[in-house]
């Protein structure tokens, strides 16, 4: 077993190494061949290879000295307009020395840029096209302003299909001498639903226990937000103990930093598994959907989800009355 982070160790280095997103990779290879790259938007869910594709493209293009020709900026950490005015401009305006006349700016998590910063970026992209090409990585291309979108070639990344996901994890497990059991692999896929970075981190954390990796270990790893935990919280609510259920929710969010969207996805799954009258399930799904939408809009995770828990307390109470 190697003692570094596997998600980095096994990150593909060249476009040829990339197992998934076949069509995208082919188009990127054609850029390398023509030695020209347009501005690009890589859009898609986390852990599907956006940043990796950008880095592979750079390495194929500039070979090993690629670091000198690219800059990686992370919009979640530096998303204000000043960054665009200073850092981005300074990098973009200076001509690259070498056979390829432009540099590449990778703007990661670009959907977190403020709209002011995006407006500023639009000018910069236009003025310095000769010397710098931009690759914007984002979960939602919809959060990138139209004028930028129209200047970029769009690439849509999707979750890894099941076979690719399995192949990749099995490959890592083999290299690292980890016994990955069938139900463990299933559990990883269920928990991470194709997010490869999350899947590899889960595998490594599970392997750190020095035991064969089975479903139980995987669930205990994703632990604080495993289906069992959400299930427990829902059970407590259905039994009528709202205060305890809300406390569990609070711990999940504050102590363990589980994203509200992850919790709600699991609640959605659990509702259809729950032992409640069939027609109620669809009613609850409606509530869950409404809350999911509110969270996307930026509502408070704990407040919204605890309103849902209160509804479950009500459901539990009604069930008790009928029983």
């Amino acid at each position: 077993m190697s003692f570094e982070m596997w998600a980095e160790k096994y990150r593909p280095k060249k476009l040829d190494d990339m197992v998934n997103q076949k069509e995208i990779v082919e188009r990127l290879k054609s850029f390398v061949k023509s030695r020209n790259v347009p501005h690009c938007i890589f859009a898609g869910p986390p852990g599907t290879g956006k940043t990796t594709a950008a880095l592979c493209l750079a390495r194929d293009l500039y070979s090993e000295a690629y670091r000198e020709h690219i800059m990686e900026l992370n919009a979640s950490d530096e998303r204000g307009i000043d960054v665009v005015r200073e850092t981005v401009k300074t990098f973009a305006r200076v001509r690259s020395i070498g056979e390829i006349p432009f540099k590449i700016m990778i703007l990661d998590e670009a959907d977190n840029m403020t709209s002011d910063a995006q407006q500023a970026l639009r000018r910069t992209m236009e003025r310095f096209t000769e010397t710098c090409r931009f690759i914007l990585c984002a979960n939602y291309s919809g959060k990138i302003i139209e004028p930028i979108q129209s200047r970029c070639a769009p690439f849509r990344f999707s979750f890894l299909p099941r076979e690719e996901h399995d192949k990749y994890l099995k490959h890592i497990a083999e290299k690292e001498n980890v016994r990955l059991l069938k139900d463990g692999l299933d559990a990883v896929f269920e928990v991470c639903s194709g997010d490869l970075r999350k899947a590899i981190n889960t595998l490594q954390a599970a392997a750190s226990l020095n035991k064969p990796v089975d479903a139980k270990i995987v669930y205990s790893i994703t632990g604080k937000a495993s289906p069992a935990d959400v299930q427990k919280m829902l059970e407590i609510a259905m039994k009528g103990n709202f205060i305890e259920a809300r406390k569990q929710l609070r711990d999940m969010i504050q102590k363990y930093g589980v994203a509200g969207s992850d919790i709600i996805r699991q609640i959605h799954t659990e509702i259809f598994r729950a032992d409640i009258p069939e027609p109620w399930k669809i009613k609850l799904a409606d509530v869950v959907g409404e809350i999911d939408y509110r969270l996307v809009e930026g509502a408070d995770e704990e407040v919204q989800l605890s309103a849902l828990l209160a509804r479950l307390v009500e459901v539990g109470f009604e069930l008790g009355k009928n029983a």
Binding site: M1, N74, L309, A310, E314
Partner: protein, 420 residues
Amino acid sequence: MYFAWTIKHKPKSLSEIVGNKESVQKFVDWVKSWEKGIPKKRAAFLYGPPGVGKTVTVETLANDFRMELVEKNASDYRTEDAINRFAGLSSQYSSLFGGKRIVLLDELDGLTGTSDKGGVKATIDIAKKAQCPLVLIANNAYDPRFSNLRNYCLLIEFKKPPAGEVMKHLKRICASESIQADEDALKFVAQRSEGDVRSAVNDLQALSQGKKRLTYEDVSWLGYRDRQDTIFNVLRMILYGRTCVSAKQAADMADVDVDMLFEWIYENVPEHLTDPHDLAKAMDALSKADVYRGRIRSAHDWSLTRYVIDFMTAGVAMARQNTKAHGWIPFKFPARIQMLSRSKAERATQLNIGHKIKRKCHISAYRASKEILPYLKIIFKNNVDMAVGIAKWLDLDPEMIEYMTENKEKTEAIVKQLSK
């Protein structure tokens, strides 16, 4: 079930009274003087601000001297007739069973013009003729209504006890509740109370509910509130409001901002609206208030605040349909705010580690701290070798390592291997 500490830890003997030593002594001397015959002043008039121990002085005296305490207070009607009927009781010093009797008319300020008509006049009549110690209690003895009455009374003033005395009392309570309280936390509560022992004890109970340890951080939020319209009153008006308007008005009285008031309501709803239907409605109202908060942010339009207020106050008040008010339930400080302030330092460490991860893993520090750190924590807790490898690769310092392992020995083991 909750039991108010103001009752549970009420002084049982005169020696436990907080402060006002001289006033208590003066009162004791006067009661004792009855042994030698009826004194010149047959009534003692204890006065002073709320919560300084006037009533409890009379109660503990009766207890210490084994006297029978006959009491009337604001909750009884005190018309002339009612008081005259009461007067009969004070016509004898010894009670039916041979014990000595003491008669108390509490909360005299409450004698109102119309319904307690003639009450003051009747009180004067009793004070003139009383055959046993008659004690009168009011906040302000110098109210013009009492000008005539004062002539027949021994006036005894009760003052606000100094913070040090209040603190001693709070300490005793903490000791008997097995709460480990920081000195400066109790000092803060005592000072805030400005000599109102009762409110200090109430505050202490609300703050230390369910805790084994009380720190300055736990209590410092008290500084936010004014002693006049406390947040507790505001909450009461909202959680037990009968009309939309009264619940909405409560929000204006609060001296915390809308977000903080929201937290107070959000924290306290479940214990005060226990019926499942009411609870669901109240939480639904709060979730809608929260939606409007989001709309304010995205539209930059603060005028939408009125809808936030509508839902969090009137929306919650109108949810009460089945829940009956039962007993005294204390209000609690919003726990998640406490959690947030406590975990501030923790989140700073998380973000620092996030920055370390960012340098290696092509991900923002923020997302690294949320999405990768939890897995690293598991690894650091379970596998020292792997932890050493990753700590070296990410260049983590011992403080960060300790955050991940949550264990001193493991941290030392990892640091030791790193320095090799």
